[in-house]
């Protein structure tokens, strides 16, 4: 278990409180409180339909929401995705949605849209260096990549701006186990470089191995918050998943 978690939670990098969001009339999230410290990896787990992806979208401003989002000491409650990205809060959405008609290189360039030429070029190279197999295909159109390579490309896009917090939505979906490890290893590397990661993941064991802390989400509410080195975590997670103890959020 990694134990390099930050100890003093003086000023968390991301602090959201009372966050609610949904689609039209359907409320999905009700009053979420959550923090991520600088340089910390936090896993966000929960059964299907719990609202994990919705929560990431609400944080990055892709979905309208109510409640407060404080990032890096700044109130970003009203900010859209563009402001979030510029502030260093980057969201890699689920389903490796890269631009299939553009080359690998151009896909990564676009993630740094607005940055200056020389700096952008250098950052693109750095991002590509994380994933040699897509670096090889830099001039191929993204449509020729496999699903796993597209996912790496999506993560590489997220790295271009050297975010302070990277939110990854199911980066392992559709990847072979080897590739999953590669993608998750990149997340660990990032943490070592000081980037915090908020990770939504289906592969719980892998997520727990990597993360410092974990939140479990069920039915739009946080039902569990714990450090990953606490005892009895798997059992408590299972309870949270299958809804036996939903009404009483387990302490942290």
């Amino acid at each position: 278990m990694p134990t390099s978690a930050p100890n003093a939670m003086v000023e968390p990098l991301l602090k959201i409180s009372g966050l609610s969001a949904g689609y039209g009339k359907i409320g999905v999230l009700n009053g979420i409180d959550l923090t991520v410290g600088a340089g910390e990896i936090v896993a966000l787990l929960g059964p299907n339909g719990a609202g994990k992806s919705t929560l990431l979208k609400a944080i990055s401003g892709l979905l309208p929401r109510t409640g407060t989002v404080i990032f890096g000491g700044r109130d970003m409650s009203k900010a859209g995705p563009r402001e979030a990205v510029n502030a260093g809060l980057v969201h890699v959405v689920e389903g490796h949605r890269v631009f299939t008609q553009l080359s690998v290189h151009d896909n990564i360039m676009l993630a740094g849209y607005g940055m200056r030429g020389a700096e952008l070029a250098a950052r693109v190279e750095e991002a590509l260096a994380f994933f040699p197999e897509i670096a090889e295909k830099r001039n191929d159109r993204a449509v020729t990549l496999s699903g796993g390579q597209q996912q790496m490309l999506a993560v590489a896009q997220g790295l271009v701006r050297k975010p302070r917090l990277l939110m990854l939505d199911e980066p392992s979906a559709g990847l072979s186990p080897v590739l999953v490890d590669r993608v998750l290893a990149a997340a660990a590397q990032l943490r070592d470089a000081g980037t915090a990661v908020l990770l939504v993941e289906q592969l719980i064991e892998k997520a727990l191995k990597l993360a410092d802390r974990v939140y479990a989400l069920a039915r739009g509410s946080i039902v569990l918050e714990a450090r990953t080195n606490e005892d009895d975590l798997p059992n408590r997670l299972e309870h949270a998943y299958f809804g036996q103890d939903v009404s009483a959020p387990l302490a942290s």
């Binding site: 409320g27 059964p47 719980i204 798997p234 299958f242």
Partner: protein, 600 residues
């Protein structure tokens, strides 16, 4: 109606009775004004009124196309052109012998009907803009042909319009002719609008997929409507040719189309009275505000933009005071499962749907990969699994939206076709949707009645003429819908516009709509999503009761506790395959299932 819920429906009944009188009153006033207008003995006003009637005859049909069915037919002036030239050319003997003017007018109507269907055909396959462009293109072409086909149309010089002999000779005779035809057009289209055909059109407009699942066959219905709208447009054209007494292609500008269109939009979609008033106002306004004439089309365009951006509901919405009264807060949904006995047919024996070896791909992704599934009467069958495991896809295969690559699907041992979603209703397979698909602009009761569309007996023509069979259909559907609403516990909201309800209420309305089929099978797609814990309990009890009354239920759900509470059998999907199947207890203990969920 039972006494527990008597007060609310009684109040609703009172308002609808008043509403009916209000509605009737405006029609009576309009009719009297029309009949009495000749007393003014003002020819100028008479001509304006005739033009308004003629425009309305076309707009009445177009209203069904645009206001009800939601098809953006912006070039409908072409029907006016066609009808006018057909009537004029035949009556003047430009094609063969001279026709009697009344016969020529009828021929204009037939011509309009034929081309109404031809222009309408693309609407079956094309979405909004393409269809709008088709009608616009047709209008452009018709004008070009009218200019070029000099033998028949007189080209740019034009051709004289027909003069109708007694009893509708020019002057007030012709006035009454237009008045009677306009009244007839109003009556017929209003009958359609208030019948199950009208509700079906609105359902196609607002929630096409749910309309199909309720057994509404869009092609046939739309063709009837386009035929009627074309015929009315053609007749209007014949009258227009007579009113103008001389027609050239210049007389049929695209701006007229816009006038018709705006009259309908101002009036409000899905209303008859609103568009009538809209047509009268728009026809008369430029006449009484002479300086505006030059700018009238510009103002129409500004009006169109303003309506679209500011009040998409039109006048009808603004005047809909009934639906601005606040609803009771803190409403509770209390299903009354004891009423299910009447809503469902327990006596009709055991049925089963059996899926064997179903496989389905989207692009390169295997959505379902060799699935076997059996749904039986009287059981709740749960279908669970991670996102993208193929649950909803399975449901869509059964309801006929997706055609699998391999596999068989049998209902009681006989093959069931893989496509034709609208045919599922006749097998009595009902469903709900992940996001409730409801006609927001219709009342709750009308929404539920849509579910029973296939039980109606009356034909389109019977409905148009409000013959007895149609009136009986309406009565039965209304009763059944009230009963279904009482069963799910929402009868007090029957007259409320559906878009005013809460999300959880919409979920129960979908179930009431599904019950209208007296389903042998009911498929529910995440019915508990967005519901409170208490509501989920009541939903569970309702679902269980439905199955105990003999229906086979397929339940796709994420809420594990609901699944384990009410299911008789559970199938767990993963990556499009069955991971496990059995009783809830077996599944709960199944190590692989737990790990599929926990990802260990």
């Amino acid at each position: 109606m039972t006494d527990t819920a008597a007060s609310a429906p009684a109040r609703a009944g009172a308002t609808s009775w008043l509403g009916k009188l209000e509605g009737k009153l405006s029609w009576i006033l309009l009719g009297l004004a029309g009949l009495a207008l000749p007393l003014l003995d003002d020819n100028y006003i008479g001509v304006i009124a005739q033009r308004a009637y003629i425009y309305w005859i076309l707009s009445a049909g177009l209203n069904l196309v645009v206001g009800y069915a939601g098809q953006i037919a912006i070039g409908w002036v072409s029907m006016l052109t066609l009808g006018a030239y057909t009537t004029a050319a035949l009556a003047a003997g430009r094609v063969g012998t001279e026709w009697h003017p009344y016969l020529a007018l009828a021929a204009g109507g037939v011509m309009g009907a034929v081309f109404g269907v031809i222009v309408g055909l693309p609407a079956l396959r094309l979405r909004t803009f393409y269809f709008a462009m088709t009608t616009l293109g047709f209008a452009t072409i018709v004008t070009q042909v009218a200019l070029a086909w000099k033998d028949v149309t007189g080209g740019g010089v034009g051709t004289p319009g027909p003069t109708f002999p007694w009893p509708f000779e020019p002057g007030w005779g012709f006035y009454y002719f237009c008045f009677i035809l306009a009244a007839l057009a109003t009556w017929m289209t209003a009958n359609i609008g208030s019948s199950r055909y009208g509700r079906a059109l609105v359902a196609i407009r607002d929630t096409e997929v749910a309309a199909e699942a309720s057994g509404i066959a869009k092609p046939k219905l739309l063709m009837m409507v386009f035929l009627l709208a074309g015929a009315l447009g053609g007749v209007a054209g014949g009258l227009f040719a007579s009113l103008q007494s001389y027609i050239t292609p210049d007389a049929f500008t695209f701006e007229m189309s816009v006038l018709f269109f705006i009259a309908i939009l101002i009036g409000g979609r899905g209303s008859i009275l609103g568009p009538v008033l809209g047509t009268i106002i728009l026809t008369a306004l430029p006449e009484f505000a002479a300086p505006l004439v030059q700018w009238s089309t510009f103002l129409y365009a500004v009006l169109l933009l303003a309506i679209v951006l500011l009040v998409p509901g039109g006048i009808a919405d603004m005047l809909d005071f009934k639906n601005r009264r606040p609803l009771t807060q803190h409403r509770e949904i209390v299903p009354r499962t004891e009423l299910l006995k009447r809503a469902l047919d327990r006596t009709d024996g055991k049925h089963s749907i059996v899926l064997k070896d179903i496989a389905l791909h989207f692009g390169g992704v295997r959505a379902i990969d060799g699935l076997d599934l059996e749904i039986r009467s009287g059981e709740v069958h749960g279908l669970i699994g991670p996102n993208g495991s193929g649950k909803t896809t399975t449901l869509n295969v059964i309801s006929g939206y997706y055609k699998p690559k391999t596999g068989t699907m049998k209902l009681d041992g006989a093959d069931m076709p893989f496509d034709q979603p609208h045919a599922r209703a006749s097998y009595r397979i009902a469903r709900t949707f992940q996001t409730p698909r409801i006609v927001g602009a219709a009342s709750v009761l009308e929404n539920v009645m849509i579910g029973g569309t296939v039980h109606g007996q009356a034909t389109f023509t019977e409905a148009m003429l409000s013959l007895p069979r149609n009136r009986r259909d309406e009565k039965l559907l209304r009763q059944a819908a009230m009963q279904a609403l009482a069963t799910v516990g929402l009868e007090s909201l029957a007259d409320v516009r559906a878009d005013r309800l809460q999300h959880s209420e919409l979920r129960f309305i979908e179930i009431a709509r599904a019950l209208m089929l007296r389903p042998a099978f009911l498929m529910l797609d995440e019915p508990a999503a967005g519901l409170s814990t208490e509501e989920i309990k009541r939903l569970g009890a309702l679902i269980k009761a439905i199955s105990r009354e003999g229906a086979g239920v397929l339940l796709v759900e994420h809420h594990a506790d609901l699944i384990f509470d009410i299911c008789d059998r559970v199938t767990v999907l993963n990556l499009g395959k069955e991971l496990a199947a059995g009783t809830p207890a077996e599944i709960r203990a199944h190590r692989e299932v737990v790990s599929a969920y926990l990802g260990a």
